[in-house]
Symmetry: C2
Subunit: 156 residues, 2 copies
């Protein structure tokens, strides 16, 4: 139930042609407290409820619990969420033994693209694709829960 | 996904001998916002996550979504909850076609006993047991999410 993840900005759209899968994600938050978030997500034809805890001090690891639920349940729960849903297209790119999830945001977060990689431990090495930019692991501005409240378009 | 419920104080402990079932409940809240609550509950040997919306203006009906999860998942999620868990023994009493759930609170809510009945519509009649006291439907002080923050013992 502990997730270890590193997060990066993206410098070109080359990831699109390298992706083996893409899906649309719509998500809302029942809670965006910094110590615990409760997320409702529709991804393609599946629904999920996900609870995350506070990050470790280096931002690398975080408690995460997720359960698949129906899309209809998700739609009902999304109505209950705080204002500010997050919409994005997720591209999945395989590189070596890892998968990068590259999220291209829409709506109020248009212009933002973030790549994430899940690791099995905090020091695990991984191959870096050409389009991988600056690391933003642990920067809470890039948390989806924060992007729902302070979207990318308001940053400038 | 809409719950219709009426809530009452209790005037004697006669419900205990009338109960056909009793179970211990420990619950915490990931969110106690007035527009949405996210509750984690262990009841006997089962675990649940429950999301409730805002009540109707008369306090009678409320959006509710619940999913059974494992007790171990619950224990992990309880660690993440806001301070102030709620502990109670629930007695279930059958009367006619209805079941009253009578919650006897412990810890910081000791002394409080609340009976609840779930109805299929807002005008449905039901038989009243001898121990049923004042109705408190819609009084948010008696919401378990509020009792976790402002327990009964602090009311006086």
């Amino acid at each position: 139930m502990i997730e270890i993840e590193r997060k990066f900005l993206v410098t070109s759209d080359a990831y699109k042609s390298e992706a083996f899968k893409q899906s649309r994600i719509v998500q809302g938050f029942l809670n965006t407290h910094k110590e615990r978030t409760v997320r409702v997500r529709i991804q393609g034809d599946k629904g999920f409820i996900t609870i995350k805890g506070i990050s470790s001090s280096d931002g690398l690891s975080r408690f995460e619990w997720e359960k698949e639920i129906s899309v209809i349940e998700c739609e009902n729960l999304l109505k209950l969420c705080e204002k500010g849903s997050v919409e994005k297209i997720r591209y999945e790119v395989k590189l070596g033994t890892h998968i990068f999830e590259v999220d291209e945001f829409y709506g109020d977060n248009e212009g933002l693209v973030i790549a994430e990689i899940e690791l099995s431990n905090e020091t695990e090495a991984f191959e870096k694709p050409s389009w991988l930019g600056k690391e933003v692991t642990g920067d809470i501005r890039y948390y989806n829960s924060q992007l729902s409240k302070q979207p990318f378009k308001t940053w400038h």
